[in-house]
């Protein structure tokens, strides 16, 4: 390293590193970012099985069916236009009920059922998605 140009060399290396980081990030994002889809969008443009997406909509009224093992549920996510059957194994989050908003992470299986690996609620102090606010008093008969 020529003494006179050390600062310049470092600056160039830094710029190259940042550009490299940008490329790495873009490649990673192309492969790993999950699209957000509503049932209507899925009906219009089916998502291939195995591709991970986020499915957002409302849990259809009366659609939650508990399976025999006691930990798997089937339900339908709808958005007023289209419906998607969903299966989830696990403990549903605190704010999960029929007629309320849900975001499910997962992928479709070969038969067109959405296998959710995660059902979401965030922990931002300001975040309370209004579709879910209705659940705060669920269970009270007015």
């Amino acid at each position: 390293m020529k003494a006179k140009h050390q600062r310049l060399t470092l600056a160039i290396i830094a710029v190259v590193a940042v550009i490299g980081a940008g490329f790495l990030a873009l490649i990673g994002l192309r492969d790993n970012a999950a699209l957000f889809r509503t049932p209507t969008e899925i009906a219009a443009e089916p998502v291939p099985p195995g591709q991970s997406i986020r499915l957002g909509g409302m849990v259809a009224d009366g659609s939650i069916v508990q399976q025999a093992d006691g930990v798997t549920i089937d339900f339908i996510v709808e958005d007023g236009e289209a419906q998607v059957p969903v299966r989830f194994s696990g403990i549903t989050p605190d704010l999960f009920q029929e007629n309320s908003g849900v975001v499910a992470e997962g992928a479709f299986d070969a038969r067109g059922t959405f296998i959710a690996t995660n059902i979401l609620a965030k922990h931002d102090e300001n975040y309370m998605p209004p579709p879910m606010e209705g659940m705060e008093t669920a269970g009270n008969d007015g």
């Binding site: 957000f36 007629n99 209004p130 606010e133 705060e136 007015g142």
Partner: protein, 175 residues
Amino acid sequence: MKHWIIWTPLALFIGFLALAASGLIVPRDTTIESQMIGQPVPEFALAPALPGKPGLTNADLATGQPRLLNVFASWCVPCIAEAPQLMQLRRAGVQIDAIAIRDRPADIAQFLARHGDPYRSVGADNDSRVQLSLGSSGVPETFVVDGDGVIRHQHIGDIRPEDVPAILAALEDAQ
């Protein structure tokens, strides 16, 4: 050579700002506008949500005069924020009906006593069924319904003072 490198951090930062500004200016509206705009209010009949005030049916909304339909709940904080604006609209002569979502009579009475009562009627929607049929997904939301009972405008979120002119304009349009 060295010159432009010195300015790259600032350039990157400006790129970030452009992105952030676009995120702020184009509000990232995953807000689902009701499909019901331009449609007649769907049929419903809600029992009174609290004693001393009538309940609400869709027929009550087609009175020949445009009116507001406010979807609220006593447990909802933004509903408190919009209460003064609703009172202001009421004083301006606007008729307001309300649907209370998953609420208790005592809580609603307390809410109205504390924050003002602009409502002609309050229907109790204990399972959010009517709310959903209106295409509303949260509280508070406010619909402008014209004289024929057709939904003309939807306001999502609390009505802030700066929103009042838009609401009045929508009511004017619905004449």
